[in-house]
């Protein structure tokens, strides 16, 4: 009963929207500054790199795997980008190499999982440490800091009357593109099928190995794009980049309604949950609530939201179960009757 129909997903997203509104009301009561245009438009900007990693991780988790190495992949790509730029190369060339390296590291994960047949949790636990070590081995000092403005604009620039942050548009653009890939293409259907039942997917002719490798490659690519936004926004390319952000990334995906065991989840849910967490942190920060209390609130929100979701599902499946029980009783009666008929 892990696979959940579209109906519930719509409702889960409804819950997220309601939560965003409710948290908004609460944040407004915390600080009058919350409901200002500047604040609302900029509230998610510092968390965009986390959101982008979450979008990539969404594919991995729906496919029934996990990738906890994303933050380390981001670090490697950021350091590579910085070093190549410092060596005198064009910034866009450096960015391209950064993206390629990130995708490559993701593909290594994918190869180990899909071809060698290792559990993804163990593999990415290993590469989480190995890639972070690699980032430091490539460059362990202060990173490059003076990047050209036309590049940093990806993370820090504004458009439309200097109001709308470019990073937010990058995030929403990526979400739309990936949402299309996930919900409207054959590849997307493969991903859901993989997560629901890998053996069944194999028998139905899905190129399972290739699809699983691709999913990890995609996660790496998104970590690379997150790296570009990171460098743009923070203007630094140190090997400790995005250290300690893994929990935030996983929280965003799971709170977005993606089933950790795979097979269900939606892009809209993840986008909403990224915004929800950003909103919560922003509101609490505006009221100077301590970083430690913020973590407790988000931890409680994560668990409470999932408990509530489970309660809703339990209600639904209890309805479903009686229906199935009724149906199967009929089935039994019918087959019994048929059996009698044939003898």
């Amino acid at each position: 009963m892990r696979r959940v129909g579209l109906g519930v997903l719509v409702r889960w997203e409804t819950v997220l929207v309601l939560l965003i509104l409710a948290v908004g009301v609460w944040c407004r009561s915390l600080s009058p500054l919350f409901l200002t245009r500047v604040n609302l438009l900029d509230l998610a900007t510092p968390y965009i790199f986390i959101g982008l990693m979450a979008l990539g991780l969404t594919f991995v988790i729906i496919a029934g795997e996990i990738d906890i190495s994303v933050a380390s992949i981001l670090a490697v790509s950021v350091v590579v980008l910085g070093q190549i730029y410092e060596a005198g190369a064009n910034i866009w060339f450096a960015a391209l190499v950064g993206l390629l390296v990130a995708t490559g590291l993701g593909l290594v994960n994918g190869f180990l999982v899909a071809v060698v047949g290792l559990p993804s949790l163990a593999v990415t636990l290993g590469t989480l440490a190995a890639y972070r070590g690699l980032a430091f081995l490539i460059h362990s000092g202060e990173g490059v800091a003076s990047f050209p403005t036309q590049f940093t604009n990806i993370g820090i620039g504004y458009v439309w009357g200097q109001q709308v942050p470019v990073a937010l548009l990058v995030f929403l653009g990526a979400a739309v593109a990936l949402g299309f890939l996930l919900h409207a293409t054959r590849f997307g259907r493969y991903i859901y099928a993989l997560g629901a039942n890998r053996e069944a997917a194999r028998y139905s002719g899905i190129p399972v190995t290739r699809a699983r490798i691709a999913v990890f490659g995609l996660s790496g690519l998104l970590a690379g794009i997150a790296g570009l936004v990171y460098v743009g926004f923070f203007g630094s390319s140190r090997a400790d980049a995005a250290d300690g952000s893994l929990l935030d990334v996983v929280t965003a995906v799971v709170l977005g309604g993606v089933d950790i065991f795979g097979g269900s989840g939606s892009m809209v849910g993840v986008v909403l949950s990224v915004l929800l967490v950003a909103e919560l942190r922003n509101g609490m920060q505006l009221d100077n609530i301590g970083g430690d209390t913020q973590n407790i609130v988000i931890g409680v929100l994560l668990l409470a939201a999932i408990l509530a979701g489970n309660a809703i599902r339990a209600l639904q499946t209890s309805g479903l179960r009686t229906r199935i029980a009724r149906a199967s009783k009929k089935e039994v009666v019918r087959t019994a009757g048929q059996a009698e008929g044939t003898t």
Binding site: A22, A241, D292, G319
Partner: protein, 346 residues
Amino acid sequence: MRHHKLKVLLGLVAVAVLVGALSAGVGSAKSDRTAGPAAKQATYKIFLIPKFIGIPVFTLNGKGGKEAGKKLGDTVTYNGPTEASAAKQVPFIDTAVRQGYNAIVISANDPNAVAPALKRAQDRGLKVVSYDADAAKDARTVYVSPPDTQSIGAGLVEWVGSQVGYKGQIAILSATTTAANQNAWIAVIKKTLKKPKYKGLKLAKIAYGNDNDTKSAQETQALLQAYPNLKGIIAPTSVGLPAAARVLQQAKKCGSIALTGLATPNSMRAYTKKGCGKKFGLWNEVDFGYLAVYVAHAVLDGKLTGKAGESLVAGRLGRRTIGKNSTMPMGPPLVFTPKNIDKYHF
């Protein structure tokens, strides 16, 4: 149909319970954090962001900062992330700007990664002062630096030398082999020992206690066994020094072996008064935060612009002057002795 209504209702109840729980749970935390200063008519609002919150060093910086705020009539808020991450400091900088703070005082996790946010703050008219760990130069007006490596390393040698008549075998009890600040101090100690004044002192061994009480105690015992003629120990670590003092006290060697190093007076009080570790030092973390907030206030007043030679009177700390690179040093470390230790409580 009945099911649908029920589900929607359940969702709403869940949300209501959640929001209720959150506001109840957080309400209390909030009130004790922002009460006090906000009630008074403040001249400036200053936001103090440590590398991360939760450990005593930064808590003391916050305490000193608030003390200075009270003296100056400013509102000082102390808050930050729970991990040493620049990415997690930036949201605090951005919200401080939107909240209308006048100045930010920060210990940067990554000098470059916080720079764009600090420059955004400067563009909106805020003043920025870095302390403890500097931010990129163009992103702050003044940097309040901890006592420099040279004066600490030289101080350590003098403190132990003056106790033993500048003669005999000494050892160093350090933290870990890879700790950058420890290695920098050890390098200065070695250099200082080459000076004529300290010719009589011989460095026998450098032991590593890994900033861990048990290991530091064991290493001290090993030193006593291996070097029976040992005259002095330098332990420039806040964990190692009290551990060494305890071992010396247990072995009844406080009279024959001089002990010095860096640690808080609270952690050494009992030993120092009984003659174990009669001279040691540390800079005052409370004063550090205090000075940083005073500097921020002076920058807001336009009295400090970061030029070398500018100075201010920082309350109970007296006059302080800006040196090279818009840097104002904390000054030499405090020296604690059995006579003065009861004046200090941190």
